[in-house]
Subunit: 339 residues, 2 copies
């Protein structure tokens, strides 16, 4: 299947794990002519199966599913323990204990099995790329395989694994940087990444990060990308599962920053109290730190306390629009011109 | 004068203070149909006057001059002293003493006087924007006034001062970030900045940072910028004054990062020994730290030791081309389409 058969409009709805992505959001994007995505990360395989079924109830159009590729950091147990110690006052504040710093593979094998059984139109991977044999196996089932990359070196690895398309994630993007390994280098902004990767391949490129206007959709396509993937700009839509305090933070202007404070891997969010207090101490250690802070974040969310939540947001989040997702997709595509 | 009368091709040659920009480079860009710039920063007024004269010998086409706007940081003398102490081993290594941590205004008044006398077609400012009265005074002399901005807030200040155009400098850009004040927020990448500022004004926007291909020139123009300003991609041209060790570093691939280690203000350069060893200790303090490290950098440059030099470079520097500047300007504009 060619990418053009999947969608009429050159807009992909970004998979946003941890709440914002819902079957309703994915279906709304796909029904409008874009390509919606489900975010399988952090969920159980059963939950993802239900989301697939629900999305298919809502739309007959193609959609994709995003999986976290499991990887192991060079995490230092002592550093993680020290970080947990430094969170004691957060435990007091929210009246809950930190979680266990467990490494988990996010049910990789069983989710891959689900994908093979359910055969969504596209599966995209984040945090790494499966072996060529797995990619081929999925492709033989009629599933297009995309991988998220953040550098030319990662693009080379993904192309060597024979994926159908690359999602180029720029530094602007909200949430986790999909880098295959942890590093402290400045992430490459989208336009830089597109310029560097476009000469490497004829496979379709999907540009992601900081895109939230028709002008930007056109710009990344002119630069060499086939499709524009939009995340933050969909987070205030009624279809999104964005929490109330997260929505409230979106309505104020404020800087974003990359931090390991919430999950042990660099992710971009709106600067808030938790980030400011704990970013300097946060070690490498994903997903261990994610599980450590999860109970604190859940408690903060329940209280409506935006100071304690991971407020993932891309750098252009401030102009996110409160309208239905399908309407936004149509508007962006129409204004951008679909040539 | 309208911006279109200045140049046939939508390409501006970035002013690159500290060596790379020369009258030959500026003249070559202008002669090809773009708009070349001289970089007055760090130079004496006399030296700038000579550069203006030399450029006019080389071309009859319009060109611009960039001035550093003087500003005072909240620099802590003690922090600067501690940093100087931490550079003792660099003094031993290079056999020279660090410079005096002086605040200077870069001969602001006399350079402004020179501009008023010599009337280049454009004067652009970096690190801030003069008062509205000064802007008007320059405009009445027939000089177009541009200001470099890195955020919507700075754009608002510059528009309030009634400048003719805004140079939008993205996070990708090499050398100093032109921010009006020092901060540690993530700088906004170019496409984000264009999306945020374009709705604020009808004045021309010049996009700067990480642009080095015809596709990127087209992309930023599609996004809303009138002109593309190109810096790093001109640094390997024969007309540029880029030092030999700096050129050698450009020919290797390597990450860039923002650092205060060389000058006391965030600037993007290729990661090297000096940056890695001193970035963590570097305080806010521009231009004091610039003058402190200047003798060390000069000595390293003389030795051809790229490990001790400020290797300013944008994030797309790795594909800089070794060809004449005028030829590059024509090539980019032709491939980008000049509509």
């Amino acid at each position: 299947m060619e990418i053009e058969e999947l969608l009429r409009l050159p807009i992909v709805g970004a998979p946003m794990a941890g709440g914002p992505t819902t079957p309703e959001l994915a279906a709304s994007v796909s029904a409008a002519g874009g390509l919606g995505f489900l975010a399988a990360g952090y969920k159980t395989t059963d939950a993802v199966e239900h989301e697939l079924a629900r999305t298919r109830e809502l739309t007959g159009e193609p959609f994709g599913v995003n999986l976290f590729f499991p990887f192991r950091d060079d995490a230092q147990d002592e550093a993680i323990e020290r970080y947990i110690e430094s969170l004691r006052e957060e435990e007091d504040r929210y009246g809950v204990a930190t979680g266990e710093p467990l490494w988990r593979d996010d049910e990789w094998e069983s989710k891959l099995g689900l994908i093979a059984r359910e055969r969504p139109s596209v599966v995209s991977f984040t945090f790494g790329c499966p072996e060529r044999e797995i990619v081929h196996c999925l492709q033989e089932l009629g599933i297009l395989v995309w991988t998220t990359v953040t550098s030319p070196a990662e693009a080379e690895l993904a192309l060597a694994a024979d994926v159908d398309a690359l999602v180029l994630q720029g530094a602007e993007a909200g949430g986790h940087q999909g880098a295959f390994t942890q590093h402290d280098d400045d992430p490459l902004p989208l336009l830089v990444l597109v310029q560097l990767v476009a000469p490497m391949t004829n496979r379709p490129l999907i540009a992601a990060g900081g895109i939230a206007t028709a002008a930007a959709v056109r710009a990344v396509r002119v630069a060499g990308a086939r499709l524009a993937q939009i995340g933050s700009a969909l987070m205030l839509t009624p279809e999104a599962g964005t929490s109330e305090p997260h929505r409230a933070a979106f309505r104020q202007a404020g800087p974003t920053r990359l931090t390991r404070a919430f999950s042990g891997k660099r992710a971009r969010g709106i600067v808030n109290r938790f980030m400011q207090e704990h970013d300097p101490d946060a070690p490498i250690g994903y997903p261990q730190i994610h599980y450590v802070t999860a109970p604190l974040r859940a408690a903060a969310r329940e209280r409506g306390d935006a100071g304690g939540i991971n407020l993932w947001a891309g750098q252009r989040y401030s102009l996110a629009i409160e309208a239905e997702a399908g309407e936004l997709v149509e508007r962006w595509a129409e204004e951008a011109g679909n040539d």
